[in-house]
Amino acid sequence: MTVGVVDYGAGNLRSVLNMFAYLGEDATILREPEDVLGADRLVLPGVGAAGEAMDRLRTRHLDEALDEAVLEKGRPLLGICLGMQLISERLFEFGERRGLGWIDGDVINIRHCTNDPHLRVPHMGWNQIEIMPTGEEFLSGIGNSQQYYFAHSFTLRPSDDNVVAARTSYGADLVAAVRKDTIFATQFHPEKSQVAGERMISAFLEWNP
């Protein structure tokens, strides 16, 4: 089995690669569309501003390769942070962009979801999550430490609540993870969430959707 981490020039791949190395998994970096099509499992990581990241995925034709690998061939994909936002329909960070469109919904500023005018944005730090039944496969079994590291100003608002696999509370109910078909994606950073994140990534490696 090969695990590939998509490199679109803005993600911090190192953190993700460090976690896979720690778990004994030899993940490869995917830069070309044909690399994406050759991997058995995919990770779409993310630090970056959505607009620019989406532009780069398109310029490198990685969007088409991801569509083919995930939607047509059914390869499991883990989206992380911005990676979760990019799979939505519409993104509103530094201008409006069309996302990959795998999950119906918009990515908007957290400030537009809250009634608290003094909420500190970005949502930055460790927060507790609430796990939905569809998220248990990835997120349960961690006992009392269901806390993960978040660092984001924008949040995914899916049209269909059934895709939500976990929620967190910050000024409003925010989506912490989504699951649909062979896609599992988190707003938090599992690769930066110590033991809790390590278990989640292990579960992704064993996932056979």
Binding site: R14, M124, W126
Partner: protein, 251 residues
């Protein structure tokens, strides 16, 4: 509920960990990756790594030392010191940093904040503000001139940086650093109340009670340096104490 953060702060010089007093004298404190590993094992919520000479020496940061540190860290790493360009930022991320903190390089070139926020998102851009008190008045300290910057107020600079895209403030009381006299609670309270991004406070803590005071004053997190490097304090003990003082800690 979002938890408050306890953040060890590591200073790098020549690839080694050092600990200083008021940015003046430094003592060797070992290999940074060894310390980072211990902090990870003890559940540090995040870690700050600063190359303290890069900015002043006008050279790129020590990415190699950063890479050794991040390999040990399964919590977020904020890196700073000499980040001057988009290319420096890309290299720091490639070496495993999650967030970048800009202090002097932002003062010299405020547009760098906009550039990096557009490139990486605001959540990855942390403004470092070093503050000194002059006749009681809080002022931004210019490390290159070794004097307070007269043309910028603390509030004005922070507001400008947030407008430009900074997503967090690292508020350092430079004249209290390593002196263990307590943190500048008035400053922390005012800055936290006047801005709507997270504020991480550092400088002056000599007791665990001092850290609790800073969190109660409104800081989203506290960074600790001196207190960890040359003492028998450890993160588990500090977090237990802070929790007992009604701070929201991850245990």
């Amino acid at each position: 509920m979002l938890l408050q953060r306890l953040i060890p702060s590591l200073l790098l010089r020549g690839g080694r960990l050092v600990k200083g007093v008021e940015f003046q004298s430094f003592r060797d404190a070992g290999r940074p990756e060894t310390t980072a590993r211990a902090h990870n094992a003890q559940g540090a919520d995040e870690i700050i790594v600063l190359d303290i000479d890069a900015s002043r020496e006008k050279r790129p940061p020590d990415f190699e030392a950063l890479r050794r540190v991040t390999a040990e860290c399964f919590m977020p790493v904020t890196f700073g010191g000499g980040i001057r360009s988009r290319d420096d930022a890309a290299r720091a991320l490639d070496a495993g940093a999650d967030k970048l903190t800009l202090t002097m390089t932002a003062l010299e070139n405020p547009g760098l904040i906009d550039t990096l926020a557009h490139y990486l998102g605001s959540q990855a851009v942390v403004l470092g503000v070093d503050v000194v008190r002059v006749d009681g008045r809080a002022m931004v300290y210019d490390h290159h001139r070794h004097e307070p910057a007269l043309d910028r107020s603390v509030k004005g600079w922070i507001d400008e940086a947030i407008d430009r895209g900074a997503g967090e403030i690292r508020l350092m009381s430079a004249d209290r650093e390593g002196r263990r006299m307590g943190m500048d609670l008035d400053l922390i309270g005012k800055v936290a109340a006047s801005c709507e991004v997270p504020v991480v406070a550092e400088g002056g803590a000599g007791t665990l009670e001092h850290l609790a005071e800073a969190l109660h004053a409104g800081a989203s997190g506290v960074a600790v340096g001196t207190m960890l490097v040359f003492s028998d304090n450890n993160l588990v003990k500090i977090k237990s104490f802070l929790k007992s003082r009604a701070c929201a800690m991850r245990m």
